[in-house]
Amino acid sequence: MLSRTADNLFWLSRYVERAENMARLMEMGYRMALMPAAASGNRSEWESVLSASGCAAGYDPDAPLRQEEVANFLIFNRDNPSSILNCFEYARANARAMRTAITAEMWEALNNALMELRRPSMHNLAKNELPEFIDWVKKQGALFRGATDSTILRNDGYDFIRLGTFIERSDNTARLLDVKYYVLLPETSMVGDGVDNYQWTTVLRAASSLRAFHWVYRDDYSPHRIAHFLILNPFSPRSLAHCAEQITQHLERLARHYGQRHSVHRQAVEIYSLLTQSDMDEIFSTGLHEFLTDFQGRNRILSHAIADAYHFGGQ
C-alpha cells in the first residue's frame, strides 16, 4: 500500500471519530448545564467543554462562554481545525485523494454527511435542537463505520483505518473524563452527593455507555466504577483498555502481514500493559487528571510512532 494512502486512511478515520467525539463532549456540556448552576463547581459547563475539546486556544477570548457560542465554535467554525464541519471536510478531502482505497459505500457515507452539514438548515438545527444535531453527528459516524465494517477488504488498509479510530477514540474518552475534572474541582464534600452522581452518569451517557454500565455493574454509580468502566474495563467499547487492546491487535496483524516489527509494537504493548495492570485506587490516589494527561501524552507519541513505522508523516 502507498504510504500516502495509509496516511489518508489513518487520518480519515481519526477525523470521523473526532467529529463524533466533539458531539459527545457537547452532549455532556448540554446535560450538565441542565443542573442548577450553583452546584456545578467554579467553572461553567461550556467552558469545561471547550477546555476538554483541546481547542480553547482558538476561541475568541471576548466571546461569551454560552452554549450557543461555544457550540457554534465547535461545530461550524472554519478556523477551528477540529470543528465538526472541518473534520468532515478533511475526512472527505482525504477520501477523495484516495478514492481507490475506500469503497463506494464509505464514500457515500462521508459525502452525504458533508453535503448535509453544509446546508444552512443545519445551523438552525444546531442552534435550536442541539441534542438532535448531536444525534445526527453520532449517526454519521455510525454510518461510516458500518459502511467500512461491511464493505472494505480486511487488508492492511483496514488496519490503518482501525488504528486511526482507536487512537482518536482513546484520546477522546480521556477528554470526556477530564470534563468532569474541569467542572468539579475535587472538593471532597461534594463527592458522592446527588449532583456529583448526576455528573458522573452524564459522562457515561456521552460515551453511550449508560446501559452497558448497568449490565456490567448492576447498580451503584460510584465515580470509582464509572471511571473503571471507561478506563480499565476491556469490555467497554470506548474504554482506554479496549482501545489499547484493538491497537495492539491491529499492529500485530500488520506485523504478520508485512513480516516486520518496529519499535511501535513494543510501545503499544507497554500502554496496554499499563492499563491492564493498574487499579482504580492507584489512579485516584495519584490523581485522575494527572493519569489522563499522562495517557494522552503516550497516545500522541504512539500515533507518531505508527506514522514513522509505515513511512508516512503525521498531519
Partner: protein, 467 residues
Amino acid sequence: MFNEMRMGDQIREPYRALVDWMEANGPEVLEQKRLEAETLFRKIGITFAVYGEGGDPERLIPFDLIPRIFTSQEWRKLDRGVKQRARALNAFLYDVYHNAEIIKAGIVPADLVFRNEAFEPAVIGIDPPRNVYSHIVGVDIVRTGPEEFYVLEDNCRTPSGVSYMLENREIMMRMFPDLFKNLRIEPVESYPDMLLKTLKSIAPRKCDREPNIVVLTPGAMNSAYYEHSFLADQMGVELVEGQDLFVHEDRVYMRTTRGPARVDVIYRRIDDAYIDPLCFKSDSVLGIPGLMNVYRSGGVAICSAPGAGVADDKAVYTYVPDMIRFYLGQEPILNNVPTWKCGKPDDLKYVLEHLGELVVKEVHGSGGYGMLVGPASTKEEQAAYAKRIEADPGDFIAQPTLSLSACPTFVESGIAPRHVDFRPFCLVGDNVRLTPGGLTRVAMREGSLVVNSSQGGGVKDTWIMSD
C-alpha cells in the same frame, strides 16, 4: 441538419424501440428518471471541474438520459476507420523520432514537425516497447448525414472521458433495465480489462516479471481526477501522485508502507512538460526527477510515450489521410474535415474573407478554448480575431461550419434536437482494440456547436446495436 432520430416523418431504424418505449411511458416517467440519475451521479461524485472558472470545483457534468444510437453497420465503418487512424498515427510517431521518412518523402513539412512545441528532441531514437507511442487514441468524430462522418481531431496524449462512457452505461442500465433486456446493445464494460491488457503488453525491456502498473495523476484538484481514480480502481492498480514515486539507480519505485516497491508501467495523466523536472519543466512539482533517464534505459514504460503529442497537433491533423496512405498503403476510411491552414498565404486570404462562415481554431489549443465560431460571432469579435490571426497566421487553422447532426435531448422546454459529436477510445499495444461505444458529447444550448464539457456541454450514453 441531419436529425439522427427522424428522417422527415419517419423514425430512423436504430431509434424505433426507444421511441416506442418513450411513447408508452410518457414524459413524467422520463422526468422522474432524469432526477434519479442526477442524484445518482452526485452521490457517486462524478464531476468535471473547469479550470479558471471558480465556483464549484466539483461541478456535475450534465448527463442526458436519451441515448445516442448507432446501427451495427454504422459502427463497423467507424470501428475500421478509427483503428486505421490509430495505426497510422503510431507509425507516424515512430517515424518522426527515428528516420523521418515521411518528411524525406516530402509529404509532411519538416518545420511542422521539428519546430512543433509538442515535438520532444529528448526522445529521438528511443524505442518505446512495441514501438507504440499513443496507447489510447481518442478520435473525435462528427456526423453530417446518414453516411457522412468526419474526424474533427485526434487525441493521442491522454484523452479523457472514458469514465463517462462506463458510468453513463451503469446509470442507463439502472434506469432502463427493460430496454437493455429487450434490445441487443453491445456491452462496454470490458474497457478497463482491455486497458489493463494493453498496459501489461507494453512492459519495458528490463521488466522480468508480471509488470507493476500504476496510474499517475496530478492529484485530487485536477478536473479529470475522478476518471483517474475510476480507471485505477477498475483495473485494480495503484493511483499515484508524483510525490509517491522516486528514481533510485536505474529504476522507478513507489513509497509504500513496506518500503520502496518497483514500478514498471506508468499510465500517466499528466503532460510531458511535468513528468520529469530534470528533463522538462524544471519548476514542476508534479513530476519525478530522473524518470526520463530510466525510460531511456528501458527501466520503465510510459503511456502515452513522451513526445506523442506531436501527432495530435491540429496542423499535423491535416496530414493524417496522407499518413494512412504512406504507412499503411490504404485509403482513409474516415475523412478529415476540409481544413485551411492560415500559414499558407492563399488559405489565409480565404479565411480572412470568410470569417463569418468558418470555425477558426488555434493549432495548439484544446478543450474548445480560444476558438471562433463564425456564424455565431459578432462583427466586432470577428475583427478582433482577425487581428490575432494576422499576428501569427501559422497558429491558426479554419474549417467550414459543418452542419452537425443532432440527437433528441432533454432540455427545459421538453425534448429537442441538440448537436452531438462522438469520441471512441482506441487502445494500441500488442493489439489494436476498440470497445463498441464511446462518449457522445452534446451541446446543451440550442443551435450551439460547442460540445466541450469545459464549455457547458453534456454527455449521453452511446448504444451500438448488435446484429
